[in-house]
């Protein structure tokens, strides 16, 4: 028989839920629905949307290519200083994004620790370019992926990897054919979180990549800018971001995350 949950928990829980959902409801209430299609079709909006989707996706790919191996090392390999490495990986998670942007400038900037060599040797300059947006977003979003994948790897039964070894599989083959399929749901969850975080990135992006239309002005930057000049436009852009985020989350949740009961 189900017992009534105590009011001392229900009331704060309801307040918390209201706090989380009311702003979204307010956003939808104040959206100028009538002018919506016209506003969405504006070239500046489409430009920002295209740039946002492109940069978030590229940043996610970058995170997958480096973050999954990093998670594997943290979960499976024995090496000195592993705890320190794990702590370092989570730093961008708690670091204010704007600080991340400053740090990126100091490293990849024209006079930066690495940036000067990139400039001298390859003629590559990351700050204030679209590539810079990708770098800033990846920096901020990667911990989400690494933590999710590492957790999945730790939860996976290592005896399957041992079984693969007894069948003659090298560690790389085992990783590719056994481990990765086993942790696929975790990787998918991490990818979604990572992508969502990259899509919403603001602080590090504006600091490191600036705010140039068509080149580094992603949706969040466009929203902020519009808020000062054309508030209804900001609302429209916000709704658009909300819809894109929710759509991705829902579609992947049903396919991959197996939806909690």
């Amino acid at each position: 028989m189900a017992r009534r949950p105590p009011a001392l928990l229900v009331v704060p829980a309801a307040l918390g839920l209201a706090f989380l959902t009311l702003p979204l409801a307010g956003l939808l209430l104040r959206t100028p629905w009538a002018g919506l299609p016209a506003r969405l079709a504006e070239p500046a909006v489409l430009e920002a949307l295209r740039l946002s989707l492109l940069c978030a996706s590229l940043a996610t790919v970058l995170c997958l290519l480096t973050g999954v191996p990093l998670a594997w090392l943290l979960a499976r390999a024995e090496f000195p200083g592993r705890r320190l490495v794990r702590a370092l990986v989570t730093v961008p998670l708690v670091l204010p994004p704007v600080v991340g942007g400053v740090a990126l400038l100091l490293v990849f900037g024209r006079r930066g620790v690495l940036g000067q060599y990139l400039q001298d040797w390859f003629g590559v300059s990351l700050p204030f370019t679209t590539a810079g947006v990708v770098v800033a977003e990846a920096f901020v979003a990667m911990p989400f992926l690494v933590i999710a994948v590492e957790g999945a790897l730790r939860g996976a039964d290592r005896r399957y990897e041992e079984a693969a070894a007894t069948l003659g599989a090298s560690r790389w083959l085992t990783f590719r054919r056994v481990t990765l399929p086993m942790v696929a749901p975790g990787v998918a969850a991490g990818t979604v979180l990572c992508w969502a975080r990259a899509l919403g990135e603001f602080g590090a992006t504006i600091t490191f990549a600036g705010n140039f239309p068509g080149e580094t002005r992603t949706m969040p930057l466009a929203v902020y800018l519009a808020l000062e000049t054309d508030p209804p436009a900001a609302t429209v852009l916000s709704v658009l971001l909300l819809v894109v985020s929710v759509a991705v989350l829902v579609s992947l949740r049903e396919r991959w995350l197996g939806a909690a009961p």
């Binding site: 005896r159 399957y160 041992e162 079984a163 693969a164 070894a165 007894t166 069948l167 003659g168 599989a169 090298s170 560690r171 083959l173 054919r177 056994v178 399929p181 086993m182 696929a184």
Partner: protein, 351 residues
């Protein structure tokens, strides 16, 4: 093909395994022992999944492991096949792909590997289950796929870790029979780890009994079944076992009491006899060359068709009687009566 292994594995101060194991080509050796005896540790050491503290593993003259010489062939480079207790089939692959995994990992072209896998699935009678995922297989089917997966690579050393333990009784019987057939046809060395004496008796040519990481007995199944050397083995094979000192046909038992035997012996001996050989009488039975002694019923356990009595002596013994006898003799805990045992039922062998 010969396996020569000397396995020493130390884990802190609490656990140590010390085992010498030689297996001839085509031979199956069972490692039998209670939980925590070190059986699985030994198997993992042979597979290279657990480093040796000392010792060596040599298969067909090739050294696979020798910490003193700095040799340790990685698991994936050992010519082994392993069947695990809970099959460990890869859940995202079909039965066929699971069996083909080993050949593929060893560089066999895809089509050839799938052909080999099909053959082996047919040999374990699961040809029509090729496309099934492991979760759509029964426990017995999954274990047979696991056997095919381990054997398709033609290993020279086959390691079976409690291969039947996870199966229910009737499935176990079937899979045990099938396993016996495949082992008979297998030309390499086989090491079987089990805590079930029946598995060991049916499947193994030789049994090595491990307790606390050490060998306490080894021999053919018949030898182990007839001449247990420790209380654990005696309990496994269902015999009464006593230690004593023989002088002619009389054995003075270490725990008190004496037994008359049909065969003469001298010095430290073990005596063993089945619980079914112990007769029970309300009064002291008269005549005949029998051992008789007063006992008290300590406990009664219902087994299939019989009741096993735990009797306090000396000597203490287990006796099997029919439920009818329990009623006739009015047997309850604390009842006092006489035990009788024919001298010819007692086996005597050197300790």
């Amino acid at each position: 093909m010969t396996l020569r292994a000397r396995l020493e594995v130390r884990h802190g101060t609490a656990f140590a395994l010390d085992l010498a194991l030689d297996v001839a080509p085509g031979e199956t050796v069972a490692l039998l022992g209670p939980n925590g005896a070190g059986k699985t540790t030994a198997l993992r050491a042979l597979a290279g999944l657990r480093p040796l503290t000392r010792g060596s593993v040599e298969l067909d003259g090739t050294v696979l492991d020798d910490p003193a010489a700095g040799v340790r062939v990685a698991t994936e480079h050992r010519p082994i096949g392993v069947v695990f207790q809970d099959h460990l089939l890869f859940g995202h692959l079909s039965a066929l792909e699971n069996v083909a995994f080993g050949p593929r990992a060893r560089g066999v072209p895809r089509a050839v590997a799938r052909g080999l896998a099909s053959d082996w699935l047919a040999r374990v009678g699961l040809a029509e289950y090729a496309t099934r995922r492991p979760r759509a297989l029964s426990g017995g089917q999954a274990q047979r796929v696991a056997l095919a997966r381990a054997m398709v690579t033609e290993p020279r050393l086959l390691l079976l870790d409690e291969p039947l333990a996870a199966l229910d009784a009737s499935t176990r019987l079937l899979v045990r029979g099938e396993l016996r057939r495949h082992l008979a046809a297998f030309g390499g060395c086989t090491v079987l780890v089990t805590h079930d004496p029946l598995d060991a008796m049916v499947l193994a040519d030789r049994i090595v009994v491990l307790e606390h990481g050490r060998v306490v007995q080894h021999g053919t199944p018949a030898d182990v079944a007839h001449r247990p050397r420790t209380p654990y083995v005696a309990q496994l094979v269902g015999l009464n076992l006593h230690r004593g000192t023989a002088s002619g046909t009389t054995v003075a038992l270490a725990d008190g009491g004496a037994l008359t035997t049909a065969t003469a012996a001298e010095g430290p001996v073990l005596v063993a006899f089945p619980p079914s050989a112990v007769g029970l009488h309300p009064e002291r039975p008269a005549g005949s060359p029998r051992n008789t002694w007063p006992v008290r019923v300590d406990a009664l356990e219902q087994h299939a068709g019989t009741v096993r009595l735990r009797l306090t002596g000396p000597p203490d013994v287990l006796a099997d009687v029919t439920p009818a006898a329990v009623a006739e003799l009015g047997l309850t805990a604390g009842a006092e009566l006489w035990a009788a045992l024919k001298a010819t039922e007692v086996r005597v062998y050197p300790a």
